[in-house]
Structures are given as structure tokens and as C-alpha cells.
């Protein structure tokens, strides 16, 4: 029995995010004039999954007690690349998709190399590389436009028979194929060890450099998958600094709401997915209540503050206050 208490405690943030999302989403559907149709579900899923993927991207560097400020820009760059090369025959489109993912991995690898081997602070390093990635996106697509294989785009952004949103299936697939094996691998555990105490990890022979490097590479990959999905939803590419910036900041918010500590060493991508869903549902709720969209930032900010405060509840439980300053 006791075992489960601690295992549950570890998941508290995740459970809370799921509960809040479920409540909000149920409320949203109850209030929605059309109810839960395939169309409503797909629209909501597409928006949610975009941010969920970028949030997953952010999670892994955060677990290593780093931060990746370039995820939003990798997302935008992947969008622009996809809108250039994912046209023509199905085969060409498939290779284009692989190339987009490769671009994300490459961006992540550059981030990882700069952070691990260049020994720069992750915040400033990824701020710089993110700006470079944005510059590349802008050079690639100075004005919004482009095209994508419509069949592919519709398949990814539409709904499956039975009304299940395809993007949700994509998200579950990414979790099952990439996140869960990673979480249960030596390098996944190493990321948590590094985030909890880098010195202890080093002394124990944990492969610190590889773990950190891989964290940024996976961040790049997840951000590129999100960029791919965005292209499938909008059928075009746009090098927008506003989109990149807001996705970067919202990804951090999603990570925090999902119960991952910014100090590193705890949490996980599943929490961030639900954190992202919570953030997106706030906007939807305002819509069904006929409130002005201008209120959205205010509510998002309030929810974020509450989430951060919940994380700080450990202040009240802690035995030794000095521990807080470690």
C-alpha cells in the first residue's frame, strides 16, 4: 500500500491536470451549441495536439533542468519547410515528411551540441539558435503561402471513421513509439538523474552529455512533428515570429501546468499534454460563453499562476525550510 502513495504523489501534477482538463472540456461540450460532433472534436483536438506536441518538446529539456526557447521557432521552421517540399506524389510527400522531421532533429542536435559541448546556458543558447531558425524560416518563406499534398493533410488533420480525430491518434502514436520507450530507457532515466542532481549523476557514471544532447534532439523532433501537423491543418506555411514566440511560452506554461518542475528531475510529457489541453480549453470556454477573445490572456495568466502556486504547496509541507534553498 505504502508503495502506491509515493508513486501517486509523483503523479499528482499529472492527475490534477487530467482532472481539470476533463472538467473544463465536459463543461465546454455541454455548453457548445452543436455538442460533441466529429467536427467539434477534430477542431479542438487539432488545436490541442499542436500545443501538446510543442509542450512535449519542451518537457524533456526541462526535466534535465534546462529550457529550450527555440521549440516554437523549430515548429515554425518545420511548418515552412513542409509547405515547400511536401507536395506531389505520395512517395514524394512521404520523403518530404521525413525531411521535415530530419530538419527538427538537426535543429535539436545543434541546440544540444551548443548546450552540452559549448557549455552555454540553455536559455541563452536556445534563444540564439531559435532566432537563427526563425531567420531560416523567413528566408525560406518571406510571405505566407506554399502548398501541401491535400490527401495527406486531410488524413492527418481530419477525423477517422467513428469521429476520432486523426491528430489525437498521431499524438498517442508519438507517446507510444517515442515517449514511453524513452522514459523507460537508460537515457531517459539519465535525464531525470541529471535534472535532480547533475553532480550525483556524474559521480555515478550516468552518461550526462549523451542524456542532455538527446533531450534537445527529441525536443527538436517533437517540435517538427508539431510543425508538420500545423502544415496539414493550414495547408500552408508562414514564418511568423508571433506564432513561434507564443508557442514557446505556452509550451513552458503547459509543462508547468502538467506538473513538471522547472527545477528538473520530475514530471513528464504526459502531464504537459494535458497541460496544453487545459490551456487550449480555456480559449474554447471563453468562446462558448461569448466572452471577448481579449480576455483570453488574462485567464491564461490566472490559470498559470494557480498552477505554479500548486507546485509551491510543498512550501507548506516541507520539514526543513533550508531545503528550499538547495
Amino acid at each position: 500500500m505504502k508503495d502506491w502513495n509515493y508513486r501517486l504523489a509523483e503523479q499528482r501534477g499529472l492527475i490534477l491536470a487530467i482532472a481539470v482538463f476533463t472538467a473544463m472540456f465536459a463543461f465546454y461540450i455541454a455548453k457548445h451549441p452543436a455538442g460533441l460532433t466529429a467536427n467539434v472534436a477534430t477542431t479542438a483536438a487539432n488545436k490541442g495536439v499542436l500545443l501538446a506536441l510543442v509542450g512535449m518538446a519542451q518537457t524533456i529539456p526541462v526535466v534535465t533542468s534546462g529550457l529550450d526557447l527555440s521549440v516554437g521557432m523549430v515548429f515554425v521552421l518545420a511548418n515552412c519547410v513542409a509547405s515547400k517540399i511536401m507536395t506531389g506524389s505520395p512517395l514524394a510527400t512521404a520523403f518530404g515528411a521525413l525531411a521535415v522531421l530530419a530538419v527538427g532533429i538537426l535543429c535539436g542536435a545543434i541546440n544540444g551540441a551548443v548546450v552540452v559541448y559549448g557549455r552555454l546556458q540553455p536559455i541563452i543558447a536556445t534563444l540564439a539558435t531559435g532566432t537563427i531558425y526563425y531567420g531560416l524560416a523567413l528566408a525560406l518563406r518571406p510571405a505566407p503561402g506554399g502548398d501541401i499534398n491535400t490527401d495527406f493533410a486531410d488524413a492527418v488533420s481530419g477525423s477517422l471513421p467513428g469521429g476520432i480525430p486523426a491528430s489525437l491518434v498521431l499524438l498517442v502514436g508519438v507517446v507510444a513509439v517515442v515517449w514511453i520507450p524513452y522514459r523507460r530507457s537508460v537515457l531517459g532515466r539519465a535525464a531525470y538523474a541529471v535534472g535532480s542532481s547533475e553532480q550525483a549523476a556524474y559521480m555515478s557514471g550516468v552518461p550526462i552529455a549523451t542524456a542532455k544532447f538527446l533531450a534537445y534532439v527529441l525536443a527538436g523532433l517533437f517540435a517538427a512533428i508539431a510543425g508538420l501537423l500545423l502544415t496539414c491543418i493550414t495547408y500552408s506555411g508562414e514564418a511568423s515570429a508571433a506564432i513561434g514566440g507564443s508557442y514557446t511560452l505556452n509550451s513552458i506554461a503547459a509543462v508547468v501546468i502538467g506538473g513538471t518542475s522547472l527545477f528538473g528531475g520530475s514530471g513528464g510529457a504526459i502531464g504537459s499534454i494535458f497541460g496544453a489541453f487545459v490551456l487550449r480549453t480555456i480559449g474554447d470556454l471563453l468562446f462558448v460563453f461569448d466572452m471577448d477573445a481579449l480576455w483570453q490572456p488574462l485567464f491564461l495568466g490566472a490559470v498559470l499562476l494557480v498552477a505554479v502556486s500548486l507546485g509551491s504547496f510543498r512550501l507548506l509541507r516541507i520539514k526543513n525550510r533550508l531545503e528550499l534553498y538547495r
Binding site: 509515493y6 537508460v186 518542475s261
Partner: protein, 247 residues
């Protein structure tokens, strides 16, 4: 028979600053040896060299008679030399079993993947703790919840996990209360009873007299002598360190 660990003329200097010079030290298998000296005597430098965290600038280190040069703590661990540091040994937000297996996780095959074998690691962690007579029923607890003595127990379990032949302990009883200190000393005796060789660095002469067979004394980066602890008291050791003379 060659000593388990033998150091010959080990030295370490940082530019013009000499932290250690000409240290000779032999530790036989199954021995419990103390290392003491004042602040700045070179104790920490010496154990960092032994643990692979710091390369020596002079001298030779032999393990089982074979020359070794550890490139990292990981390399030392693989050769059977585990070092337990007082404060930076554990990752506080990870669970007990995750700490014990940090850097040396058990894996199981899952198709073409190799995933963590959590069940086996939990079971073995409980087994290690039982071997040390430590009452810590819950291996899923985060280490930040544990007392100082329990943390030392977890750190020592890591040495067991590595099958370490030589365990180096840096100030194992510093910052512990009386009861916890006694627990840690019991742990050290238990470890010794199981045939593990131990090198303890400590400021606390009473503790060294209580658990070690002999003590090596350092002063200003040099070894000033050795002393059997069966015949010495804590006061004797303190006097030797202060005067720099070993009878």
C-alpha cells in the same frame, strides 16, 4: 600478496600550489582504513584521485597489482572502486531504488528495445537494504524524504550494487546526530563483515577509532605516518595531527 589498492608517490599540484606530494598508501583486501588530517591536509584531493574524479599529477596507482588510471568516476566504479560523498552522492528528487541503480540500471529486452527493469531494481534494492539491516520498507520514497543516516544507507547500497571491492567514504558521519552516527558506524561494520574493503575520510577521531583498523595521517599534503587504532585513543590521534609527529 599484493595489496588491493596501492599508491606510490602520488602527487597533485595546481600550478605552483602543491596539494599532495609523495603519498604512499597500501590497503589490503578486507581492511578498514581511516584517513585523517586537518583542513587543507589533502584528504579530499587524495580520495578524488582514488575515485577517478581528479587525475594525479605524479605517481602510480595499482589495483590488485595492476597499474590503473581512472579517467572518470564511472571508470573507477567499473573497476570496483566506489566513492560515497557526503553531500553530493544522491539525486534528492529520485526514489530510493532509482538512486541505488543510478548509472547502472538493470534492463530487460522488450522486442528490439532495452527498457528499465523496474520490478527487479525495486526487489534488489529492498534486498540490499535488508543486507545492511536497514529498516526502510519503501524503495519508492524520494531520497529528499529520508534522514541523514538513511541517505548514507542508500549511498552504501549503491556501492553494493556496483559490487565494489573498495568503498571510499567521504565524511560519512559529518552533519549527523548521535543516534544516526551510530547507525552509520553499524553500517560500516556490516559492510566490513561482508568482506568489503573500506577507506574512510573523517574529521571525527572517535568514529575512526571505533571502526577502523588503522589510520593514515596527512598534514599539509604529506603523509606523516600511520597508526594502529587498537592501541590509540581519539586524543592520541588529535595530538599526532596537531603536532605532526607520529610515534
Amino acid at each position: 600478496m599484493a595489496a588491493l589498492l596501492s599508491l606510490r608517490a602520488i602527487g597533485k599540484s595546481y600550478g605552483a600550489v602543491v596539494a599532495l606530494s609523495a603519498i604512499d598508501l597500501d590497503i589490503d583486501a578486507g581492511d578498514v582504513v581511516g584517513l585523517c588530517g586537518d583542513n587543507g591536509a589533502g584528504k579530499s584531493t587524495l580520495i578524488r584521485i582514488i575515485s577517478g574524479a581528479l587525475p594525479p599529477s605524479a605517481g602510480e596507482m595499482r589495483l590488485d597489482g595492476r597499474p590503473v588510471a581512472f579517467a572518470s568516476p564511472a571508470a573507477a566504479l567499473e573497476s570496483g572502486v566506489a566513492t560515497i560523498y557526503q553531500d553530493l552522492a544522491l539525486a534528492p528528487r529520485l526514489a530510493v531504488y532509482q538512486n541505488i541503480f543510478m548509472g547502472a540500471e538493470h534492463l530487460r529486452r522488450f522486442g528490439f528495445l532495452r527498457l528499465l527493469d523496474k520490478r527487479r531494481m525495486r526487489a534488489e534494492s529492498a534486498h540490499f537494504l535488508a543486507r545492511l539491516n536497514v529498516d526502510l520498507p519503501d524503495v519508492d520514497r524520494p531520497v529528499s524524504d529520508l534522514s541523514g543516516g538513511q541517505r548514507q544507507a542508500v549511498a552504501i547500497c549503491r556501492a553494493l550494487r556496483w559490487n565494489a571491492r573498495l568503498v571510499v567514504m567521504d565524511e560519512p558521519t559529518a552533519a549527523l546526530g548521535v543516534r544516526e552516527t551510530r547507525q552509520v558506524l553499524d553500517l560500516i561494520r556490516e559492510l566490513h563483515a561482508q568482506g568489503v574493503t573500506i577507506l574512510i575520510v573523517s574529521h571525527n577521531m572517535d568514529d575512526l577509532v571505533a571502526v577502523t583498523n588503522r589510520v593514515v595521517l596527512l598534514k599539509n599534503g604529506r603523509k606523516i605516518g600511520e597508526c594502529r587504532t587498537a592501541a590509540a585513543t581519539a586524543d592520541d590521534l588529535a595530538h599526532m595531527i596537531a603536532s605532526g609527529v607520529v610515534p
